[in-house]
């Protein structure tokens, strides 16, 4: 089976690509048509249902995953584009200390109601706090520009992000 991302290989529309995907630390080989969207492959082939489908054109952020640690809208990526990259969804981040602080904060600050936007919010914020341990409210709001929420009015989400950032810093100081 040849590497689908090997330059020079051309696959016809009816031929499946055998994609080597690294998702949440595990390697998979997924055989899909070239047109398959990453969000759908994660949900339907790998059963990673935290990846939510909202607008399905890259505007709402419900589908946000991490690719090599950076947030990406998985509904506007072909699975073929991320062969060889490191993909993380909420399922894979669940044991991450920063993510756990965020989840606790979201719970305590009522930062979710229906929960539909929540995985995208958490994934985006987790990658932010890993690089920016002390963000301002303005920076958090700007970072979440592409994550839409219809329920909370955003303030509880921002409060939770600030609370989690503070908790993570306290934890670093305590253990440092």
């Amino acid at each position: 089976m040849s590497d689908s991302s090997a330059p020079g290989v051309r696959r016809d529309a009816t031929e499946a690509l055998d994609l080597r995907l690294n998702v949440n630390g595990e390697n998979h080989v997924i055989s899909v048509e070239p047109r398959r969207i990453l969000a759908d492959v994660l949900r339907d082939e790998l059963d990673l249902r935290s990846v939510h489908l909202g607008c399905e054109h890259g505007s709402c952020g419900a589908c946000t995953v991490l690719v090599d640690g950076e947030p990406a809208a998985s509904c506007v990526l072909l699975a073929a584009q991320v062969e060889g990259r490191r993909i993380e969804t909420l399922e894979g981040l669940a044991l991450d200390a920063t993510m756990r602080a965020l989840q606790t904060a979201f719970h305590e600050k009522f930062a979710l109601q229906c929960g539909y936007c929540t995985p995208g919010m958490l994934v985006n914020l987790c990658s932010m706090l890993r690089r920016q341990p002390k963000p301002s409210e303005g920076e958090i709001r700007e970072r979440l520009n592409g994550n839409l929420c219809r329920c909370t009015g955003y303030q509880p989400i921002v409060d939770a992000a600030l609370f989690a950032a503070s908790a993570v810093r306290d934890e670093m100081e305590a253990s440092g």
Partner: protein, 296 residues
């Protein structure tokens, strides 16, 4: 505007080895081929079924297409340099106009994969990078069946979402002079919400003379015409004027002579005409202030 998005239609898929291979693949597909860079504009088009290519040519793995280099005072970006990579480079190198614009391109998720080459080739009349390359006087290196050529930013945009590129031509890199020490550059825009498509935007590079007047200036406008454009009337009025807020604002008022703004769901043409002078003036003033500092 189509009602909703679905899954992309079927297409064949090829990963280009290098730029000539990409051109050959596109040529072979005749008009059925589309280039895949970051896909952040193309994939929504596929999902809205606004395009149905027979072949996608992935140029994202071509050596050199993600390179960023400074050569002879000019920044050279490979076609597949992402918005996020430009944002990081600009922060590390105090390239203010690039920082201004990069932060406004889509949102953080889009910036991880979207590319400057893709943005310019997509030729959205409201694309931030278009305003920037017009203001900086940038050029695109283009490879096609007839060989390599250079297209200046002024000659790149032919119509809404249409470049002057011939079929099977691809942008390989984008070069733009970086503002000199006696110059300042800025990008400002107006949008319904931050991160929304710009309804009016201005990129400015302004060189100040020693007697506190405008020695030279370039103004690139977005969202204000069927394509990104230069504000020639504003530029002509500015050369030799004083660098006061009042003089800059007065010159900015002339922007209405240059623009023919569209009206759409984001903003009416009347609204764009209302805000165009203000956003232009703001960009001019920030560029002027920066020309008086060390950073570019």
């Amino acid at each position: 505007m189509p009602r909703g998005s679905v899954k992309p239609p079927s297409f064949s898929f090829a990963v280009a080895r290098d730029a000539p291979h990409a051109v050959a693949l596109l040529e072979e597909a005749m008009r059925g081929g589309r280039v895949l860079a970051g896909g952040q504009s193309l994939i929504p088009l596929l999902r809205f079924r606004m395009v149905e290519p027979s072949l996608l040519v992935d140029i994202g793995r071509i050596d050199g297409f993600r390179d960023i280099a400074v050569e002879d005072g000019a920044l050279r970006l490979g076609a597949c340099v992402t918005h996020a990579a430009i944002e990081r480079w600009a922060a590390d190198n105090d390239a203010d106009i690039l920082s201004d614009a990069a932060a406004l391109v889509g949102h953080v998720g889009i910036r991880t994969f979207g590319t400057i080459g893709g943005s310019l080739a997509h030729a959205d009349p409201a694309a931030e990078w278009a305003g920037v390359v017009l203001a900086l006087g940038g050029e695109c290196d283009v490879l096609g069946p007839s060989g390599l050529r250079t297209v200046s930013a002024d000659d790149l945009f032919a119509g809404p979402f249409r470049t002057s590129l011939a079929p099977a031509e691809i942008i390989t890199s984008i070069r733009m002079p970086l503002p000199a020490p006696d110059s300042g550059a800025a990008f400002e825009e107006v949008a319904p919400r931050r991160g929304d498509p710009a309804v009016a935007g201005a990129g400015v590079v302004l060189r100040a003379s020693s007697n506190n007047t405008v020695a030279d200036v370039r103004v690139g406008l977005i969202g204000l015409a069927p394509t990104p454009i230069r504000a020639h009337a504003v530029e002509d009025a500015l050369r030799g004027t004083e660098l006061t807020d009042r003089a800059l604002s007065q010159a900015a008022e002339l922007v209405n002579e240059d623009i023919s703004p569209p009206g759409d769901v984001h903003a009416s043409d009347a609204y764009r005409r209302r805000v165009a002078p203000g956003v232009t003036a703001r960009a001019l003033m920030v560029a002027r202030d920066r020309s008086r500092q060390e950073s570019r």
